[in-house]
Amino acid sequence: MKILVVDDESDVQVLFEQRFRREIRSGALSFSFAFSGEQALDYLHEHHSEVVLILSDINMPGMSGLELLRRVRTEAAPPPPPRVMMITAYGDDDSRRQALALGADDFLTKPVDFAALKEKLLALPA
């Protein structure tokens, strides 16, 4: 299962690779990384329908996570549409409502509980 992680902090990549090292090693999960909303869109355009899940930070310079979500949900893409999980440091109801209204499948707050995230990811239908 291919997951695209979008965050402007580059260390997120190392963190995910280590947190999910067993799953990556076993081939259960595979990660790609983008460091901005724009990069994420470019990646999605190049890798149609490979990405099953997008994990995106909301607060990023330039295109925000919510804008990315809106673009993903409105742009015509070959089915099936990817699942989208939003992550934010500001875990307020307003952002959550907005994210869900724009078509997010889940809403996580920082600091991310990796154990819970792992369970969620593994529970997803591949």
Binding site: D11, L15, Q18, P61, G62, E67, Y90, P111, V112
Partner: protein, 457 residues
């Protein structure tokens, strides 16, 4: 003269005496003489009674003697009072006539009335009368002149007294005014001190207000590195656990062990990095809230711009989650360090960035341009011994009428309670007075605003 009512001259002479006393003001000028003169009515009365009862040449003789004596007295008074010019001329006027009269009486007494024989036509007496009359006239006009002069002097004295008293009252008034002014000056000085204190408090309040704006940004900025510290610490203990398990296996995988060790080492470095990052943010926050030491130190403006751009952005985002903007940085690769009070310049930058974000947010909220992308950029450059920091936004822009006032203290276009109106005023002070630089603004309404900080190196 010696005909008709022989005593008429006496009555006339007495009248003249009384008139002369008044005219020459003898009661004050010659009080002793005047007392005697007032008694002249007694001999005059005797002559008049004699004239009425007896009549005849003897009375005429007395009458002439009396008149002559009166004239002689008048001449004496004139001499005595010669310093008083009218009296002197009266004396001069009377003296010949008196001499004529007395001489006449004495000659008649001696039986040789030569004078009356010589002057039988009365020409000499007429001449004497004219002489006396004209000198009386002279005396009178002189008296008038003197009186007018005295009046003028009196008036002048009165005027002087009036001026003097006016001076007095003016002086009094001036003293009162001076006292009032001194009091006012004291009051103003106190007020000035109060204003200075208030200004200090306001500057501190402005600092605290901007700190408040920062707090959320700072929390966000700290939370990210802290999350990394926690995550890398956790994942590292997992790695250590895995390494231990690996080493306990009968068939060990040296490659995997090396990889785990390398990851562990990297993670420790990352923990250190993110820990330092958080510490740096806290230090920056403390520096911002502390009163400025005013000490200049070589400062890296690129780093300062980067730090405050992020803080300002996250600060605004914390208050307004739906806000997003593109941040563009264009830092000069080689920028000399500037002797600056980093904390103060940080406040200036924070202010400019906050304003820039506010402007793009306002334009975005107007929601009239679908493709609008809020953008705030900062560019640094160095040329001709001058470092420039250019903060640009594509926000609402500043109307020309407002542009002239933006550096004035307490001027704000923000809704009441949202801005202190001190941000740009203090920024201007810090750049211009604190660092000998310049803070310039260029703006186009509806297109954006550019603030340029110029600092000498």
């Amino acid at each position: 003269m010696a005909s008709g009512n022989e005593f008429m001259d006496t009555a006339l002479g007495l009248g003249l005496v009384y008139w002369g006393r008044k005219a020459l003001d003898l009661p004050t000028r010659l009080p002793t003489w005047d007392r005697w003169l007032t008694r002249l009515w007694q001999p005059a009365a005797v002559i008049i009674v004699l004239g009425v009862v007896v009549g005849g040449p003897v009375v005429g003789w007395f009458d002439d003697l009396f008149i002559g004596a009166m004239m002689a007295l008048g001449a004496a008074v004139g001499w005595r009072l010669r310093a008083y010019r009218p009296a002197f001329w009266v004396g001069v006027g009377l003296a010949p006539y008196a001499l004529y009269m007395v001489l006449g009486v004495l000659l008649r007494l001696s039986g040789r009335d030569v004078l009356h024989t010589l002057d039988s036509g009365g020409n000499l007496e007429t001449l004497l009368v004219l002489w006396t009359g004209s000198l009386f006239f002279v005396a009178r006009s002189q008296h008038k002149t003197l009186a007018a002069e005295a009046q003028r002097r009196l008036e002048a004295e009165q005027e002087q007294r009036r001026i003097l008293s006016q001076n007095h009252s003016l002086e009094h008034e001036v003293n009162q005014r001076t006292a009032a002014l001194a009091q006012q000056t004291d009051a103003l000085r106190t007020t000035l001190q109060e204003l200075r204190d208030t200004q200090e408090q306001l500057i501190q309040a402005e600092k605290m207000a901007s700190l408040g704006e920062l707090t959320a940004g700072i929390a966000h900025e700290i939370q990210n590195p802290l999350n990394f510290v926690n995550n890398f610490a956790e994942v590292s203990s997992e790695l250590a656990q895995e390494l231990a398990e690996e080493r306990a296996r009968p068939t060990r995988d040296p490659e995997l062990e090396a990889e785990l060790l390398a990851d562990l080492k990297q993670n420790l470095q990352r923990i250190g990095q993110h820990g330092k990052r958080a510490a740096g943010i806290v230090r920056g926050m403390l520096e911002h809230s502390r009163a400025s030491t005013g000490e200049r130190q070589p400062t890296d403006l690129n780093a300062l711009c980067d730090e405050y751009l992020r803080l300002a952005y996250h600060g605004l985002r914390a208050k307004d989650k739906s806000f997003n903007a593109t941040l563009q940085t264009d830092f000069a690769p080689v920028l000399p360090l500037v002797e600056a009070v980093g904390q103060d310049l940080g406040r200036v930058l924070l202010n400019l960035f906050t304003n820039a974000f506010y402007a793009v947010r306002q334009r975005q909220l107007a929601a009239t341009e679908p493709g609008y992308a809020p953008t705030v950029s900062v560019r640094t450059s160095y040329r001709d011994r001058e470092v420039q920091v250019v903060v640009h936004d594509n926000g609402t822009g500043i109307p020309e009428a407002v542009r002239a006032k933006i550096f004035q203290p307490f001027f704000t276009t923000k809704p009441s309670g949202e801005g202190t109106g001190l941000g740009l005023a203090l920024s201007h002070d810090i750049v211009v007075q604190g660092h000998g630089g310049a803070l310039e603004v260029a703006s186009e309404e509806g297109a954006g605003t550019t603030f340029t900080i110029k600092l000498p190196v």
